[in-house]
Amino acid sequence: MTSHLMPPLALTLVDIGRILSLAVIAGGLLWLFLRAIKRKEVERRVIFLFIFVSVVAPILFPTVFQEKATPIVKDVFDKIESLPPGSVVLLSYDFDPAMAPEVQPMADAISRHCLVRGLKIIYMCLFATGQGQFTSTLENVIKPEFPDKVNLVDYVNIGYKAGNEGVLNVIITDFKKMFPTDVDGVPYDSIAVFKGIRSCKDLDLVISIGGGKPGIKEWILFVGDPGNVPIASGVAAVVAPLMYPYYPAQMLGMLGGIKGAAEYESELVHHYPQFKNSPTPALLMMGPQTLAHLVIMAFIVIGNILYLLERKKGRKR
């Protein structure tokens, strides 16, 4: 999947497919461009074909683009980088399966980052269905990649409690009251992660991953602001624009949509080469997205060239 890191001469089948499809698209666009210069409209079916190819090709022959983290994403990354090992981070899974394709990659990447930095993670969720999503992280990230990390010592899952912002309102003063045990019934006081943690105010960082209500907004209003707790978030693209007013004063950083996730994955691989073989679903999804966006932008440009030439000709006549 990440074969772009291989020596350039070792061409795999995937590489050939990738080059071929890129050549097809590039050649096609050139052809379109030439036709536009000759002032010839092109049939819409050709346009459809372009989109189809530019979405299918990166799915079949995954192409990973290098993403450079934008400041708002970089802020989250740097915050985790700056925490000394042993710090405690809370990751809240505030989403359901429907939102998962967009935000699960964020949760996985951040978990990976925290664990490799030797931070301790408290997992919880404000959505009842977030539980199942944590299982996905546990099975796909923690167990295979960090076999030496021990439950209750390096991370703990305290699960879901009903009550939305009510839950937050309690844990800002006292964790134990809301979560007397973890999901498996282990009492609070015998969980090593919680040593020295009484409330959210003792946490070094809180990250809410989600895209609905309750979500990051509630975390900011009920925990971040009153408790002066550093808050970061990963949210679906729909919500991201609405959250900008909180950045950077009340929220130190944010991963917005699949692009934010991809930037984070990219940054992680950049700093920790050992992850270069870990799955990077968001980066993979950016392939079709980028190519399709590129093709659409090319259409706009070519369409306008055609239009301007036509108009010029019209004026002459």
């Binding site: 819409r44 989109i51 934008t70 624009p241 932008m297 259409f299």
Partner: protein, 225 residues
């Protein structure tokens, strides 16, 4: 009877609901009326089903263009009705969920309804592209502004935005395309949305008032005779 009774009904119902907002003991009326509305809507679905049958049976009997396809519609309709309304192929009791995994209804839903619906929806990806080729043209100043805004956002949402303008120093970072895209979403976009919203809000309010007062009555049709 044909005109005055409906106008009176609209007036009374509308006025009562407006008052109920300011008078707490009437608060639940709004909820009730919404529930009534839902129930009437189900009757409307039956009306629709009857109409569908009528349209396609007419097509069939008059052998209109493409009439064989009407058989497909009628068969699909009857099959789904059998599975849904009469619970054929639905294991479990009368109070079992209609969407139980493995029931005929759910099977049709999963393997006919979902692929058809989501593929129709996915056609949008193609049409977005063809619209941007065909119609996104700088015909005048307004169209150009629209085009440029769209272009910046498109660029800002992909790695290309960072690649093209990533070199811009921090003190000019608003000129980095991704930041510019965000700024557009947050300021002019917000302003435009809000202006339209206020206008629509006013329009709805005044139309509602006209309806309640019986000034606007096109919805009743015309023939008084």
């Amino acid at each position: 009877m044909k005109r005055n009774v409906p106008l009176a009904i609209t007036f009374i119902v509308g006025a009562v609901l407006i008052f109920s907002v300011f008078i707490p003991p009437m608060e639940n009326w709004g909820e009730d009326f919404t529930l009534f509305f839902d129930i009437i809507a189900v009757f409307a679905f039956f009306l629709g089903g009857g109409n569908l049958l009528r349209v396609h049976l007419t097509k069939l009997s008059r052998r209109k263009q493409d009439w064989p396809y009407s058989i497909v519609t009628i068969m699909g309709f009857l099959l789904m009705l059998a599975a849904g309304l009469f619970r054929i192929g639905n294991p479990g009791d009368i109070n079992a969920s209609l969407t139980e995994q493995g029931s005929l209804f759910q099977t049709i839903y999963d393997s006919v309804f979902v692929p058809l619906g989501s593929t129709m929806y996915a056609l949008l990806a193609f049409f977005v592209a063809s619209a941007s080729y065909r119609a996104f043209r700088a015909k005048n100043r307004e169209a150009t502004i629209l085009l440029v805004a769209a272009f910046i956002i498109l660029l800002g949402r992909t790695p290309l935005g960072t690649i093209v303008t990533g070199w811009v120093p921090e003190s000019f970072s608003i000129l980095q395309i991704p930041n510019l895209a965000i700024w557009i979403m947050n300021s002019p976009n917000l302003a435009g949305q809000r202006a339209i919203m206020i206008g629509i809000g006013l329009g709805v309010v005044s139309m509602s008032l006209r309806l309640i007062l019986g000034i606007e009555r096109t919805y009743l049709g015309g023939d008084d005779k």
